[in-house]
Symmetry: C2
Subunit: 232 residues, 2 copies
């Protein structure tokens, strides 16, 4: 039997923890090969400067069993980029699991892969999913609908990856990984979601994200128009 392979998309300006959280978990799934995939083989600078290197390019990448699309502010640039859209569609056509962390869901959406699917993403961007024909889910950290698995923002990638590990290897494999990485979270504050965070904290984060969200509105509108044109 062919060794199962998980590929995580790497792109400039991405949020590195969207990728590195799941990477740690996937690397501990017995027998799973884990690859970082980018347009070409050059190292990629993530949002805050951390540089990650791809294991393969779009052209070299084998057909993946698990496709993982991380997110970040810079995902906007990918939503109308044919190289990324073609790669994601080509991989999704045969992958067992088509997945995303944080705003990686927007790229799945722009590729037309969430039409009629329940899905989630970072809380600040979840409303955008409807523009791609998805059914936005705001009250689940990881959403499974058939073979699509979408996670909420950034740190949700760890919860997400443990769920995928359970799908791939069974619950005991996931439980062992959880214990190995001592995932026994104890957040200092109740501030991980707008429903629990203090209102002034929500307002401050919304203010910080505002310029990126304004640019995202335009990028999503263009991508959604392209998707509609392709479908008609």
């Amino acid at each position: 039997m062919k060794q199962p392979t998980c590929g995580l998309l790497l792109f400039p300006g991405m949020t590195q923890l969207d990728l590195t959280g799941p990477y740690e978990v996937f690397s501990l799934v017995p027998g799973l090969k884990v690859l970082l995939v980018a347009t070409d083989s050059k190292p990629v600078k993530t949002e805050h400067g951390l540089v990650l290197s791809p294991d393969c390019s779009f052209d070299d990448c084998p057909q993946l069993d698990v496709l993982v699309i991380p997110g970040g502010v810079a995902v906007n640039d990918l939503l109308t980029d044919d190289r990324h859209l073609d790669f994601v569609r080509r991989q999704a056509s045969t992958a067992s699991w088509v997945t995303s962390v944080c705003t990686g869901a927007l790229l799945l959406g722009a590729a037309g892969l969430l039409v009629g699917y329940r899905a989630t993403t970072h809380w600040r961007s979840v409303s955008f999913l409807a523009e791609f024909g998805a059914i936005p889910v705001t009250d689940e950290r990881v959403v499974v609908d058939r073979n699509r698995i979408t996670a909420a923002g950034v740190s949700a990638g760890i919860d997400f990856a443990l769920l995928v590990a359970a799908k791939l290897g069974g619950d005991d494999v996931a439980k062992r990984i959880q214990l190995g990485i001592e995932y026994d979270p104890a957040p200092l504050f109740h501030s991980g979601h707008p429903r629990t965070a203090p209102q002034d904290v929500v307002a401050a984060v919304e203010e910080r994200l505002r310029p990126a969200i304004e640019r995202r509105k335009l990028a999503v509108a263009r991508a959604a128009a392209n998707l509609k044109a392709m479908a008609s």
Copy 2:
């Protein structure tokens, strides 16, 4: 005022999430400069193959305000390595916060920096801390004792970094970062610590870790003997 700087140690074979979890949080602390530091400027391969590049070498590294030592199986090799011990001692002598994630605490211990301090580390290695004169703590995810802050295993680095963010910038800064990275954890299983994980899961993980722990026993004994010889 000088810009505060946080330096995270990078070393071959380390557990990348020990570093990349805190890195994401620290990068969002307004005004904090974040550096990856290694013996020299060459890229470093972490435990499962992910390659990270240092921003500076031990020689180039400025005196840090926050020193962060991540861990991993490969920390054993550092416990008797003078370059690492000297670097950690030199930085700790002026740092505002001397900290570790996971088994990075063993390097702080080997450097003599935990004598008389309450400290924690990955659950499977916490008993080793006593050999370095520390007071092992098994029931706190992040332990603060004066200016030493030590975190439990791997994923505890996120809880740890949010606490450090609060120390550096105030609670509101930490709360905003927590909301930004949507740190609202929802583990699929109760399996993040031996006190909650099923006993057969604990046994399986202990079995997997056994060879590394056997090697660690020897490395810790040698390092503890060196520390005693230095003190006498």
